[in-house]
């Protein structure tokens, strides 16, 4: 039986203050992503793709509206609760890998497991398995500076999946890579989606990258240009 890890964004309003202006990024935005989907969020810069990803991952909170992951409403959780929730449910892959340079590939992948009750041996086993899945077993003891961009991103993906989260949120995961390496990473994500049932939401500008997804959501046709509302007369 498939678990419910649907992602539901309900009546989302998101705005932020820029000087005396309030910039509205999303106004009454609704979206549902079914558990096990591989969704690509597309659209020009500035439409709030990353913002949506951050809302889904509990990195940011909506001004109004509800963010529901499975049966859990997360937009009203406190920071400490969100932190723990993220550790258990979400894997992040960013455009920049953000690996810790002082740890080897194995060490970086083991890092999220420090938050689990697993012992050292179990952590090592899990990390080795995750590295094997992304094809980086042979580079396990290499440090980030000894890896290529594609390899670093593979390690970042291994780090994202090592604690077996249901959802992978990828923000331009191939943005810094050449075409061939990007395709390898996208194939890897597709495998994680198809073989392991991971729900993947990927923000991308790249149409070819979006082709790997099972559904493409183009925010340009979803919402209008972000608009600014003047507040007060200014100084």
């Amino acid at each position: 039986m498939k678990n419910n890890h649907n992602i539901t964004l309900k009546n989302i309003n998101k705005s932020y203050q820029k000087g005396t202006n309030t910039v509205v990024v999303h106004d009454n935005f609704n979206l549902t992503i079914e558990s096990g989907e591989f969704v690509a969020l597309m659209g020009p810069s500035g439409l709030g793709k990353s913002t949506l990803l951050h809302l889904m991952g509990g990195l940011d909170q909506p001004t109004q509206g509800e963010v529901i992951i499975g049966t859990q409403r997360i937009d009203n959780l406190k920071q400490a609760q969100l932190t723990q929730w993220r550790a258990e449910n979400i894997g992040f892959v960013f455009q920049s890998h953000h690996l810790l340079p002082v740890l080897s590939a194995q060490g970086n992948v083991e890092l999220p497991l420090a938050l689990t009750p697993l012992n050292k041996k179990q952590r090592q086993e899990h990390a080795s398995y995750a590295l094997e899945l992304v094809g980086m077993s042979e580079r396990a003891n290499h440090y980030p500076k000894e890896l290529s961009g594609g390899q670093e991103q593979r390690v970042a993906i291994a780090r994202a999946i090592v604690s077996d989260p249901h959802i992978l949120l990828c923000d331009e995961p191939t943005g810094n890579l050449d075409r061939k390496t990007a395709d390898e990473i996208l194939v890897l994500l597709t495998q994680l989606n198809r073989n392991f049932g991971k729900t993947i939401v990927m923000v991308t500008h790249d149409k070819k990258a979006a082709d790997y997804a099972s559904r493409v959501i183009n925010l340009e046709s979803y919402i209008f240009e972000p608009k600014s509302i003047e507040v007060g007369e200014g100084i």
Partner: protein, 384 residues
Amino acid sequence: MLILVWRNSFRKKMRFWLTCISVMVAFFLFTTLSVVNHALTANVSNSNQYRLMTSHKISLTQSLPINYKQKIAALPGVKQVSYASWFGGFYQNEKNQLPVTAVDHETYFDLFDEYYIPTEQLIQWKNTRTGIVIGQSLADKYGWKIGDKVPLSSSIWMNKSGSFNWSFTVSAIYQTTDHSGTNNKVFFQHAYFDKGRAYARNSMSWLSTEISDKANVDDVIVAIDKLFIHTNSPTRSTTEQVFIKERAQQFVDMAMVINLVVVAVFFTLLLIVCNTMIQTIRERNNESAMMKALGFSSLSLIQGIYLESLLLLGLGAFAGSLLAYLLITAIGQNFNDFLPGISISPSHYLTVFALVNIAAAFCSAFPALAIKRLVISKTLGGQA
């Protein structure tokens, strides 16, 4: 996490070691100066506040008549009176300076009961005109035993034969529990001194007065000084504490300078380490944000920064204290006469431990604030 703390600490090796050396220097200065400060001021804090000291109103170098003893003893509230004169003195050559004092042998050790002298030795000393009472450390240093003949010289006092050399016999060895290390003094009979010296007979340098329990210190002080106000040798009386404090004034002032230096050093140290930690956390902004995204709490990241500060400060403090220990040990062995009892007390290590922890907490405070305020979505980017 500990491995991460360790590796992060040595990430910028040059910066780590340079900061560590500055911490080491600060704790070296702190330990050394604190110990020297303690050695200089120990006598002040260990002195007896119920004993009065009376000297010439003009200066300690001016003598007072010996008969003042009886006059003071007759005052109400006075329990007993003794007197002493500074002899100075050295053994063999002037490099071996010794604190030698001529004292009223009948009364002196009744007043100053912090010197533990075996009764039979004390009797022996009282019965030996040329006898000296020496401290245990002095006996150990020169291998002097009871009965040994010891020639001591004075650069101030010439004897009747026109020589500055005086002959003494070791009659008693005292011990003291006083940690300020006054185990290197020499006492001899004032009667021998008075009779033997070429000039200034029937006089002494200062009087020590013990007052009775119920006596008012101020009243007795006023009474003593009033007694001699119209004589050729007016007096100035104070408590022993004030007397020693005034005598050590130059050292106490030095102690204040030392304290100021220590405070300045620590303030600078805090700024240096604080700046290092702020720089460190700024460089790792993205990593901190990533770790928060992975599910690490702000608290766990702050703990990491605290442990890094602790490692840096602890290592520096350990090295600095070790260096200071070696220096103090060397000073203790070679300059014991000048700074008796100079040593690092166990409580000092506790102070260092506490300071390291406080400094680590202080230096982690600003990075902690930065971590707490870190907004993951802003730090890790992505377009809105």
